[in-house]
Structures are given as C-alpha cells and as structure tokens.
Symmetry: none
Subunit: 217 residues, 4 copies
C-alpha cells in the first residue's frame, strides 16, 4: 500500500504480468504440439491459471496465437529493418549479419517453432495464414530482397533474379529452423547448426560473387 519502494502492490503487479505469463505458456505449447493439437487447458495449466481465465485476455485460440506471434516476432523484425536501413559495410557482411542475426534471435530459440507451425498448418487455418503472411513473411522477404538489391547495385553481387534468389536464400534458413525443432523426429541425428550455416553462407556467397574477369589479352 504505502510501500516506499514500489508504488504498486504485489497483486497488481501480478495482474499486469498475467498476459505475459499466458503468452509464454502458449508459446511453449504451440511450439511443442502445433496449433490444432494444442489444448487450451494445457496452456492454462502451465500458466498456473484456470481455463476460463484465458478467455479474459484472449478472445479465442486464434487470437491467443496471434498475440504470441506479435509478442515474439514483430520486435525482432523491427530491429532487423533498422540494421538494413543504416548498414555501412559490405553486402557480403550484411548477408552474414542478417542470416546469423536471424538465427540467433529466432532460429535458435523456441520462436522458430512458430515458423514451422505456420508452414504446417496454415492450410487448415486461413485466417492465421493471412495474418502471418502479412505481418511476418512479407516483411522478412522484403528484407532479403533489399539486401540482395543493395549487393547488386553496389557491384558486389552478380546480376541475378533478385526475387527468386531471395526465396532460394531464405529456404535453407527456414529448413534449418524446422530441423532444429525438438531434434526434428524426421532426422535421426540433430544437425550441427553452426556448421550448417557456415556451409550455407559459404555456398551462397560463392554463388553470388562476381565471375572472375577474363584475362585481358
């Protein structure tokens, strides 16, 4: 009440933290099981509340999922866009930066599971698909495109079909995320992601670099 160190009583702090706790629990379970297979009862249990409480904060399962995506992915996209906007180094370095940054912030974390989940289940939940495409995929794609265009414009990368190459470049990163999810049960042994990314970046930068100039006569 009159606690000198905090203007808020503990229960109020609790109340404000609720949505975060719910989102954390939901992320865990959505990622473990997928969207359809997640039982809201499990989310509530893990968050230490009752099932009904979930509905005080989120209208339904889909809205809960959207909130999880917003909470966990949008801030990272914001930061990545900032990096591109202000980058000063070579485009090869920017490539590295973006890929490894993505990996560190998303690919190597639980959040990667959301991407996997969306690839898998968007067909059954069209509203989620639209939401995810507009708020996440489109922004990610655009960033890769901008980075490749920058390389071509600056004469660092050879002339390529930027759009398609962006897709090709994104693919192995997404696949790595999928394979990493829970020692992906379709792969016998877990991938070593560091060396996978090294192979990937190596292959790409080799593939993108300008062809050797023909020796002048």
């Amino acid at each position: 009440m009159n606690c000198p160190f905090s203007s808020k009583p503990r229960w109020a702090r609790r109340k404000e933290a609720r949505p975060q706790e719910l989102l954390a629990a939901a992320l865990d379970i959505f990622v473990e099981r997928g969207f359809a297979a997640t039982r809201l009862g499990d989310v509530a249990t893990r968050a230490g509340v009752s099932k009904g409480t979930l509905y005080l904060y989120f209208e339904n399962k889909e809205e809960l999922f959207k909130a999880v995506v917003r909470e966990n992915m949008l801030p990272i996209l914001d930061e990545a866009e900032d990096i591109i906007d202000s980058y000063g180094g070579s485009s090869a370095d920017l490539f590295r930066e973006l890929i490894l940054g993505w990996w560190e912030r998303i690919g190597a974390t639980k959040v990667a599971g959301i991407t996997k989940l969306m690839m898998a289940e968007s067909g059954n939940f069209p509203e989620l698909a639209t939401f995810y495409r507009e708020e996440v995929s489109a922004r990610g794609d655009a960033m890769i495109v901008r980075m490749l265009e920058r390389g071509v414009e600056r004469g660092e990368f050879r002339a390529i079909d930027v759009r398609q190459t962006a897709n090709v470049v994104i693919a192995p990163v997404i696949m790595l995320m999928m394979w990493q999810q829970a020692f992906n049960p379709c792969h016998a042994e877990p991938l070593d992601s560091a060396s996978y990314l090294e192979s990937f970046i190596d292959l790409c930068l080799n593939g993108l670099q300008m062809p050797p100039h023909p020796a002048p006569a």
Copy 2:
C-alpha cells in the same frame, strides 16, 4: 459373362481396384488437411464408400497413412537410386537430373504434401516419424550425399563438407515443395517453380565449382 473382352465381372474388378481408390482419396485428404485433421469419414466419402469399408483394407489411420507413403514415394526412390547407380555424365548434370527429376515426380505433384505433412506433424506421431525417416528421408539424404561425393571424387566439385552441403542442398527443394502446396497460404503469390529451381541450381553449381586456377606466371 458375355463380354468377349473381359472374363471378370464388374464386381471383381471393383474389388481389386478398391485399395487404390482408397489410397488415392487418402492421399488427397491427408495432403489437404494433414494427418491429425484428416477425418477417415471424409476419406471414405471421397472414395465413394462407407467408413467401415476403410477398415477392411487398412487396420487404422496410421496404417492407411503408411500405405499412402509406400504407394506414392517408394517407387520413385527406387528409380532415383537406379539413375545414380548407372549415371555416365558429369556430376553437374547428375545434380540437375536428380533435382529436376525429384521435382517432376514428387515436388510438383500432390505427393509433395506428404513431405510437408511429415515436417509438421512428426512430433505428434512418433511412430510415423520413425517410419518416414527410415523408409524415405534416410534414402533421399543418402542419394544426395552420393551425388556430391561423386562430384568431389571426380574433381568436378570443390572439396566441401559433403554431409552438411547435402542438407543445405536439400533444403530449398523441400521448401519449394512446401511453398507449392495449395498456393501455400503463407505466400501471397505462388512461386514460379521453374525459375526458382533455375536460380537454385545456378547458385549451387556456381557455389560448388572448382575455384579458378591462379594464372601461371
């Protein structure tokens, strides 16, 4: 009876065709909806039979799914292995052959949906995961590894980490399959798969080719 060209009554022909009809219907719906979301009632309806009839041919949902995989994927793997065994041309051409063949026989067809489905749901159905890994993934991986090793041994590709590169190389193909599935709802516009594959093969072969020899003094 009095049909001069067939000694079999219509009914018997029907009976022999049943499993194929059921597998075709099952493939459609598994691919449309995923494993968990597929209702056996829908499969039966699409095949034009009753729910009970399914159980005359397949013990349960998992066995039905395995049969779909066996029917649609194993013959293609057999053929691809034959091609590698007997290939005479350059490794770059073999690379093209395998990728484009895979695309034509699987990626561009409904069957691609099985791969997507497995990535998505293997975590929830461990027995299916094991089955798929052993009978499909492991064989596909091994083929790519053999192709890359062949290129390195013959001095056509530079020295690379064959295992990891195989993973990197497989990834964009799998991603393309996933994106193609039903105008994948995470992508606004469908990819042009021909040009995607061209970009992909181009990038890879550029990335794999031997570095230019330094000009002799």
Copy 3:
C-alpha cells in the same frame, strides 16, 4: 468317388458336418467371451468358414446360441431324467449320482460356461432368457425337486421345504461351475472341484438326514 467303404463323397460329408463344426466353434467362443462379446466373425474363422456362411445355417446370433444350447444340454437332461425315473437305490445315493453326474457331464466341461453366460446376460436378452428357463432351468429344477420328494416320502430325508431346499442345493453346483470357468478371474486360485463337491455333498446329506431319535425311555 467310388470308395467302397463310403457311399458319400468327401465333400458331401463335409457339407453335413458343417453345422456341427459351426456349433462347436460357437460353443467355444460363447463360453470364452459371453454372448454379447462374441463376434460372429470369430466363430466363422474358428470354424474355417466365412462370415456369410454362418447365416446359411442360423438365422442370427440368437438362433445360433439356441442351437448351441440344444445341441449340448438337452441330451444330458434327457438322460438324467431317465435315471431318476428308474432309480432303485437309496435317495442319498441318488443325490450323489445326480450331482456327480451333472458335474461330469456339464460342470466339468465347456458347457458349464453356458450356464454362467446365461446368469450374466439373460437380463440383456430376454428372448434367450425365456428360452433357457423353459428348456433348461425348469427341467433341472424339477429333477432336484423330485429327488428330494422321493427322499422325504421314503423316510430317508427329514421333512423340509422341498422347493426352497432344491434351490439351496442347486446353488453350490452352479457356483462351482461359474468358479471353474477359466480359473475364474475373481478367484485367485482355482478351486479343487472334487473336494468342493465332497464338502458340499457331505454338508447336504448331514443337513438332510433324519434327526437322531430321542432315546426311548
């Protein structure tokens, strides 16, 4: 074909034996599982025929069951009635004879399972209940009543309520049958039926014998 020792070709013998084979298989499975839990498919399989064939010989599950009862129980009741009709010895011996005969012919065999089954499921299948009561239970009861009446009339048993005592006397025999069925799972260890029957007969004959005459003054 022209076998000199049999005027019937083998397949004709087969055809005539069919119903017996079906009844034997049905007895086995009805006794193992009960009426409701018996699947006609299992009966057919055990008899080595198809499910449809069953319906050539028996109208439905209930009629099959009735045929099993008629085949296995009625002849034994016939014989027991003959014995009572013509018995010459003491009533205590007749008591023994009936009980042990029943045990030997029914109690110790698979047929005992039918009695157990009827006790259990008659409530759910009223038509079977009526059939069994009229064709089996009523005749068995009547035999015990006659035997007791004979003992009382001949001054070998004390004066008792014959009807009720008949019920009391039948009960332990029926229970023994039920306990014997498949090492009845409600009993840890199988009963030793010989000593059980000995205890039972001993108890009954002791209980039935004339009270000792008061010593005359």
Copy 4:
C-alpha cells in the same frame, strides 16, 4: 448471499453432490445392463448431465466402475469385519448374523448386481477382475473362513475343511443374489429370499453341528 440458513449457493451444493449423483446413476445402469453393455451416455442422461461431464469426475469407464464398487461395497465390508472382531455370542449366531447382514446390506439391494456383473464379465476385463478380487472377494472369503474357524476352535462346529466349506457356504448366498437380480429372467417366479435363507441357514447349521455323542455304554 442473504440466505440466513445456508452460506452456500445452490451451485456449489450442486458441484459437491455431482460425484454422488453420477455414482448412483452408474450403479443403476451397470447393474441393469452389465459393464460392457452400459453406455456412458445413458449414465450421464440418468444423472441429468451431458456425456462430457462424466469425464470431469472419472477418467474412463473402468475408473467409474471402480468408484461405484468402492462407494457401495467397501464400507459394508469394513463393518462386517468389525462385527467379527468383537463378536461375543455363539458361532451359530455369528453365522446367522453375517449371512443375514450381508443379505440386508448387499444381497437385497441393487449392489448385489455388481457381484453378478463381476462373475459374468471378469473374463473380458482382467483389470477389473483383479481389482474386484483384491478389494472385495478376498476380504469376503476371509471373513467366512474366520467365522468357521472360530466355530471349530470353540467346539461348536465339527471338524471340517474350513476353506472348502467357506466356498460351499458362500455359494448359495451369491446365487441368491444373482437370482434376485431383476426377478432374474432365468427363473420364472422370484424366489422368496427369506425362506430361501432360512432353508440355507438351517441346512448349514445342521450340517455343521457336532455329531451326537455315542451313548456311553
């Protein structure tokens, strides 16, 4: 709120009563139809709730059945054991007491149907069989054994095979229960249980009593 006599809202009273209502409905229907033939939908309907509600209180059909047994039989066994422990009268009277008590508390009530059901279906549901044997049958048997041993030790009963006699003595009581169930459809007319028990006790005590001493010379 403003009800002066009860601090509990109707709803809360409801909630606490639920399990009892469900158990009562389940007892009714299990006894009417048997275990396998009982449809949980019917249980729910009789209790006035939806099918799903059942699963809030009982994990599945088997657990529901076990709960019915615990609720209805265990307390009675407890009391009966107390009686034996502290009994002061003759063993013949204790015999009467136990038999009539059992009859009054179980045999004459719906609960008797559970015993019938177990005899009938234990073969098809081994887990239930084990449960029932351990928690009910074994304790009942042990009580009869103790009562007979007491009679023999005190010189009230003649020397008998206590274990087998216990089985023989239990049998007519169990049979009576089975016959009583719903005017048991295998018996034309309902038994008069009072006179049946009288005949039974009479027969047993006559059969157990010490033989008359031979007249001393």
